[in-house]
């Protein structure tokens, strides 16, 4: 039994993550005031949807780049390949946080100009921005897998049978032989998306009053963490050093900040553990 659990650490951590979230939700339903609970629920759901959409967009962009790569390799005009490499390297050279902040500026411009005014569209736009700065991790993995198989007899043996390079790369290498590797990368992309989103939302929300702001961005965990109430709740942890019994109050009176911090940290930790466990299970 011991061996079986250690072999499936990823599943164990997935259930731990879901269980932890459910447990804190039930706890909050009992002890947290209703408006704060609704905000946390909305923040968590928005954060989750954005991160999930980052996975979808990133995978889509990466696969498109690989398709373009394959097509460009088969045509004689090498200028397109150079242009593609230049654009990707340019994007890669921008620090992720800076790039995403710039994207938020563009988003604000669109919202104030009434180009984007739908809540769902705003969420998708944020996911799109984040994925633009993380999708190259998937491109790198896909290229690594393709290069690995191109060196083996498998690629050449299929090629000389007249099977198209497009099919070998997309179906035989990426789909048949790299799904597990890609899924593992997508789990870590989820963690990266949560981290980047919370960081940028925290940065732009500090000192920003949603009541007087001209732009209402969706509530996310990062934005909620920047609220004065949350910060006070977190700082209240320091009271425990002087008065250990104060710990009870932390879990009853300072729930908003503690819950948000827990959700962020626990999600990051869980995605890291799930990804590691998955790698171990499939010996990646």
């Amino acid at each position: 039994m011991k061996i079986k659990i250690s072999e499936k650490k990823d599943k164990l951590w997935l259930f731990t993550w879901i269980g932890g979230i459910l447990l804190i939700w039930i706890w909050d339903m009992v002890f947290l005031n209703n408006p704060a609970l609704r905000q946390i629920e909305e923040g968590f759901i928005n954060t989750f949807i954005i991160s999930f959409m980052v996975i979808i967009f990133s995978l889509f962009f990466a696969w498109m780049i690989i398709i373009i790569d394959t097509t460009v390799n088969n045509i004689r005009f090498k200028g397109i390949k150079l242009l593609l490499t230049f654009i990707l390297n340019l994007l890669r050279s921008v620090p992720q946080i800076i790039g995403i902040l710039a994207g938020y500026i563009l988003l604000t411009y669109f919202i104030t100009g009434n180009v984007i005014n739908n809540h769902l569209l705003i969420i998708l736009f944020i996911a799109l921005i984040i994925s633009l700065f993380v999708f190259q991790e998937i491109v790198d993995l896909m290229r690594e897998r393709i290069d690995y198989f191109k060196k083996s007899d498998f690629f050449n043996a299929m090629s000389v049978c007249g099977i198209s390079e497009f099919r070998i790369i997309n179906y035989d290498i990426l789909w048949k032989n790299s799904r597990i590797h890609l899924l593992n990368k997508l789990i870590s992309i989820f963690g990266i998306a949560v981290f980047l989103q919370c960081s940028v939302d925290f940065i732009i929300s500090v000192g920003l009053s949603t009541e007087i702001s001209r732009v209402n961005l969706p509530v996310t965990l990062g934005g909620l963490l920047a609220k004065i109430d949350s910060k006070q709740d977190i700082l209240a942890i320091g009271q425990i050093f002087g008065n250990p019994l104060y710990i009870i109050n932390i879990f009853v009176e300072h729930l908003q900040g503690i819950t948000i911090a827990f959700l962020i940290v626990f999600t990051l930790l869980s995605s890291y553990k799930i990804s590691n466990g998955y790698s171990e299970r499939y010996r990646l």
Partner: protein, 503 residues
């Protein structure tokens, strides 16, 4: 003579890898064990020798757990008084010690005869050259596969010397040679057999020799027939989920070889013999070597293959036969390349795009040497044929016919088509590898070691398929170390010899 009978079951998690109810080897005799690759020959012998990892596999021998089998006094005696020559010599040798040190490790230091053995296995090569070789630490590329194999054989023979010196009874010995001649050409293979039988004649021991090389039978009948009463030929085959061990009648092979099918001229209605499907000029240069082709009179010549011809390219291991196949298919660049495939002129400047458009799967096809590496292991049998340029309906019905022909037993089982290739036996993989290319019906077909890993029945079926293609007008270039079989089938004037010289 005692018969040692074992029931063996080896599993990995829930999957059964090998299950045999009665595996026999005979004390004081030499048993040659044939059978297609992947059927479990190596696994069974490793289990009996106690070389498998009980943490990774669940093994029972005679219904006894493996750990208990390892503690058995007889097992301990066998391991002490025997030697196991691994199929892949690199996995046997320690990269952190010189070959010389390894030749004298453990109780191997208690016996001599090393110089004589080395000299014989290197066919009287200069002693200084051998000494130089012994001073090196084994690396993947040096010594060569053949040299590593001969070092292991030297160790095994030293161990035989030792037990003969100690007069250990043969019932406590179990020498296993797993594909001992896989990297040796026929000349060195025969030297190995000479030494083995000499030692056996001097004082018998028990040995199991796992091999795919059926031509060993001819050599034994020609030169060691005085020992036939102490030699057995067995074959492993599959029966449902079990593996069974049967006697292999040498006459079956020898008679077949005697009456081996000869190539007949192709159907004149289908073939226009004026235009060669391949012209490859001598003198191409690759990896710092110049490669030339010689005819039966050892005169330099060019390779020319006309429709309906089968041409056999011979050379010792490591000369560059596979490299030639890959150069023809545009997978390895070569200098001074002057070639013509189905009328398309090709030189070193010809681009990969040209091969994609005109050659690959259209004018020419190549069956790769190692089926295990050439197939997508994650694909099912059915998926192996997807993506091939087989649009016409007649080609697809041809695929079904050829499949049923090559996979007679398997085609009865509908689930076989959905089986992942990784779970196929080596022989099944090789047949699938061959079929994938043959079905393309290209004008030129290059076969690189097409009999690798096949059992005797499969060899016959596969050869018949090649001859049908040749009859239908396909030009075939054969590359194989199996000189006995192809030497019989291919006419002498269609045999070329490959020679390489350092530039």
């Amino acid at each position: 003579m005692n018969t040692n009978n074992y029931s063996i079951h080896i599993r990995k998690e829930k999957r059964s890898l090998v299950r045999i109810d009665s595996f026999r080897f005979f004390s004081g005799e030499i048993t040659f064990l044939f059978g297609e690759s992947g059927i479990g020959k190596s696994l069974i012998s490793r289990a009996l020798y106690g070389l498998l990892d009980p943490q990774e596999l669940t093994i029972s021998i005679n219904d006894t757990p493996f750990k208990q089998y390892l503690q058995n006094e007889k097992t301990k005696h066998i391991r002490k008084n025997s030697f196991f020559v691994f199929q892949e010599p690199s996995s046997h040798l320690n990269p952190l010690e010189t070959l010389s040190t390894q030749l004298n490790e453990g109780d191997l230091s208690e016996t001599g005869g090393e110089d004589e053995l080395l000299s014989r296995l290197w066919d009287g090569a200069d002693q200084l050259k051998i000494k130089d070789l012994l001073s090196i630490y084994p690396k993947p590329h040096r010594p060569s596969g053949g040299e590593k194999q001969r070092i292991l054989l030297t160790m095994a023979f030293k161990k035989i010397n030792l037990i003969q010196k100690k007069s250990t009874g043969y019932s406590d010995t179990f020498f296993v040679f797993d594909e001992p001649t896989g990297s040796l050409d026929n000349h060195y293979r025969n030297i190995f057999l000479d030494i083995l039988f000499e030692k056996f004649e001097h004082n018998p021991f028990s040995a199991l020799i796992i091999t795919h090389d059926y031509s060993i039978i001819s050599e034994i009948y020609k030169r060691h027939n005085n020992l036939l009463s102490q030699i057995r030929f067995n074959e492993l085959s599959r029966n449902g989920d079990r593996v069974v061990q049967n006697d292999f009648s040498p006459d079956k092979y020898l008679n077949w070889l005697k009456n081996a099918p000869k190539l007949t001229p192709p159907d004149q209605n289908k073939v226009t013999p004026d235009n060669p499907v391949l012209v490859l000029k001598s003198g191409l240069q690759v990896f710092g070597y110049k490669l030339t082709f010689l005819d039966k009179n050892q005169n330099q010549t060019d390779i020319k293959i006309y429709p309906g011809e089968m041409v056999y390219l011979k050379a010792p291991s490591g000369t560059g036969k596979t490299t030639i196949a890959k150069i023809i298919m545009g997978l390895i660049p070569a200098n001074n390349l002057n070639m013509e495939i189905s009328g398309y002129k090709i030189n070193e400047k010809t681009s990969t795009h040209f091969y994609k458009r005109k050659i690959w799967g259209k004018a020419s096809g190549l069956v790769f040497q190692h089926a295990d590496e050439a197939l997508n292991r994650k694909s099912t049998v059915m998926e192996t044929f997807k993506g091939l340029p087989l649009k016409r309906k007649d080609r697809i019905s041809n695929l079904k016919n050829q499949f049923n022909h090559l996979f007679i037993k398997e085609s009865q089982d509908k689930s076989f088509l959905k089986k992942q290739t990784t779970f196929l036996s080596g022989g099944q993989k090789q047949r699938l590898n061959i079929l994938r290319t043959v079905i393309l019906n290209t004008k030129l077909l290059i076969l690189d070691e097409p009999l690798n890993g096949l059992d005797f029945e499969s060899i016959k079926v596969v050869l018949q398929m090649f001859m049908e293609r040749q009859q239908a007008g396909t030009g075939i270039l054969l590359i194989s170390h199996n000189e006995e079989i192809f030497g019989k089938i291919v006419p002498e004037d269609k045999i070329y010899y490959l020679q390489s010289e350092i530039l």
